[in-house]
């Protein structure tokens, strides 16, 4: 299986008055062609920054980025911003978290949607609008011709997210980053949008990176999962393997915090107590140590390396689940 996007030792930091805020610490990940990879983690774990940095969308004078990103055989991290830009749209595209803010409020859907085909694919206005209407019907929007003339404020959240998806796929990207595409939507619409994304990915033969905080979403829509915590990948495995054979207590805690239909009514949801470690001045040792119910002295003292458990399963834990050592209850 050939790799479409390869991320090696990606580090992203932001210079702040309090010191260097390290949002991503040495992430390495491969996105195979034609597959869907999920990136899971709680808020602030660096998922969004990681995916934007991988694409090269971050900018600013306080940004510190290092590492290597290779897309389709081209090393993005060695290219000029102009060359990287030429990869966008046709090579990589991104669907954003909040469809309320990711559409320009003062322009009609049609002109925003036709922009990519016109500028990146060099279509004339008529052809681009025709393509826009096709894209809208591809994302199952009824009466696409009428939709082209509407403004974003006239659309519901789910409709806007469909439009965002249509914009992202308008230039036939090979790799689609979906950054929490359903977070801002109603639960009833979430499933439809995810289903749509999965079908589009299959039909258009795209690869996809699905960033989410919901392990349930990942289980149904990805081939491979990377769990991020405090800017690091703490566990990664093929999806089936991960759910069958969890190693990292954090992954387990994430899974346990999903509400279950068999729970008694009135029962308390399980939460992961505590907070993420301070990203500016992080204590040595495992980042999860203060919140982990299995933590030992070693976890406080030494930072765990990524351990290979075979069949593509890597984890970052001194005492993985299923370990024989006596644990604190």
């Amino acid at each position: 299986m050939n790799t479409l996007l390869s991320i090696r030792d990606l580090e992203v930091g932001f210079e702040t008055p309090r010191g260097l805020l390290k949002a991503v610490r040495g992430v390495s990940l491969d996105i195979p062609a034609g597959q869907s990879v999920g990136i899971v983690g709680e808020s602030g774990s660096g998922k969004t920054v990681m995916s934007r940095a991988a694409m090269g969308l971050l900018s600013g004078s306080n940004l510190r980025r290092s590492g290597q990103v290779v897309f389709d055989g081209k090393e993005l991290t060695a290219m000029s911003p102009r060359e990287v830009r030429d990869q966008f749209g046709t090579g990589m595209a991104m669907i954003f978290q909040d469809p309320m803010t990711a559409l320009n409020p003062v322009r009609r859907i049609g002109s925003q949607l036709a922009e990519g085909p016109r500028i990146r694919l060099g279509m004339d206005k008529k052809a681009a609008l025709k393509r826009s209407a096709e894209l809208l019907s591809l994302v199952r929007i009824p009466d696409p011709e009428a939709m082209l003339r509407k403004f974003p404020y006239q659309l519901s959240g789910g409709m806007r997210q469909r439009v965002m998806i249509a914009i992202a796929i308008s230039c036939n990207p090979e790799l689609l980053f979906a950054d929490e595409p359903t977070t801002a939507l109603d639960v009833t619409v979430q499933a439809q949008i995810l289903q749509l994304l999965s079908e589009l990915r299959r039909d258009l033969k795209m690869s996809m990176v699905l960033v989410t905080h919901d392990l349930g979403v990942v289980a149904n829509h990805t081939d491979f999962v990377a769990v991020m915590y405090a800017g690091e990948i703490v566990e990664q495995a093929p999806t089936a393997e991960l759910f069958a054979n969890m190693k990292m207590p954090y992954t387990k805690a994430l899974l346990d915090s999903i509400p279950n239909i068999e729970m008694k009514s009135g029962a308390r949801l399980k939460v992961i107590e505590g907070r993420l470690p301070n990203p500016v001045d992080r204590p040595k040792g495992c980042g999860f140590v203060t919140r982990c119910s299995y933590a030992q002295q070693k976890c406080h003292d030494e930072h765990p390396p990524l351990v290979d458990a075979g069949s593509g399963h890597l984890y970052r834990c001194w005492y993985p689940l299923g370990h024989t050592i006596a644990r604190k209850p």
């Binding site: 990711a102 003062v106 922009e115 500028i119």
Partner: protein, 287 residues
């Protein structure tokens, strides 16, 4: 245009009508059969409004006020529209550039704006006209076109930082929005992002303040006249006010007529600016 007019409330309609009337005066004013603004009527000096032959009356020198208003509209509107248009364009380009690029360029442009804002308008205009379009010997007449040009330039310089800062502020809020990142993630060039995504969002703010600025400029032109460095031929609203400053007691209409016209024009500009801002801003939505 008709559709736009139908959407207006009565106050906006009156304002639109008033501005159209002033624009009409400005364009065809010297063909309207009225007394020559520069010839005095020896039999009717300082007559009040609605006098026979002088609808708005005359000033103490016997000059017809309506004729002066009509003919003065050309200069007043020309100066204000040209300087606001030019200053607004330059200011917006600089402001948007500064806010979009940030960094050192932003620092330089923003500091320049602040320095320009700290110079009082009238002092700047006075200094420029005195140095560039004045003769030390009052016997030698000043070239009117040169004087007009310098006045427009100085008022443009006054407008640049005002609208420039508005454009910069609006761009700062819009350029960090997700749709700009989204456009970048589709491989748009910076120029395209600015023209297609930022400018349409920034324009409503510039319109609103731009119309306000027209009022400011009309008043500033009047103030320059009052200081003796206005339009040479004396045919502008400001020049009218300046000329009659001493005769307010025996010909009050010579003061309040031009002041009223000037005030109404400024108010109408504000009203239309406000209407356009509301009309062009689809973000507010009408559901």
């Amino acid at each position: 245009m008709v559709k736009l007019f139908r959407e207006m409330k009565i106050s906006s309609r009156v304002s639109a009508f008033w501005l159209c009337l002033m624009a009409l005066f400005a364009v065809v004013g010297h063909w309207i059969p009225l007394p020559d603004p520069r010839e005095f009527d020896i039999d009717a000096s300082a007559v009040g409004p609605f006098s026979p032959g002088h609808i708005l009356g005359t000033d103490a020198g016997g000059y017809d006020l309506l004729s002066n208003i009509v003919n003065g509209a050309r200069t007043s509107l020309l100066i204000s529209i040209v300087s606001v248009g030019l200053g607004g364009f330059i200011g917006s380009v600089l402001g948007i550039l500064a806010a979009y690029r940030r960094g050192r360029l932003d620092y330089i442009i923003n500091t320049t704006f602040n320095i320009m804002l700290s110079i009082p308008n009238l002092v700047l205009g006075l200094a420029l006209v005195a140095v560039l379009a004045n003769n030390a010997d009052p016997a030698i007449p000043v070239n009117p076109n040169r004087r007009m040009f310098v006045i427009i330039v100085s008022l443009t310089i006054v407008i640049i930082p005002i609208l420039g800062r508005i454009a910069r502020g609006a761009t700062l809020t819009w350029s960090n929005r997700e749709f700009v990142v989204a456009a970048r993630s589709m491989g748009m060039k910076d120029l395209n992002i600015v023209l297609r995504h930022i400018v349409p969002n920034v324009l409503p703010a510039i319109y609103a303040v731009g119309f306000l600025a027209v009022g400011v400029v009309i008043v500033a032109e009047g103030a320059l006249s009052l200081l003796g460095v206005g339009i040479v031929d004396g045919l502008s609203w400001g020049a009218m006010i300046a000329r009659v400053a001493g005769e307010f007691e025996y010909a009050p209409q010579s003061m309040y007529v031009p002041v009223l016209v000037l005030a109404l024009t400024v108010i109408a500009c504000n009203q239309i600016g406000d209407f356009l801002r509301g009309r062009l801003d689809v973000r507010e939505g009408k559901i």
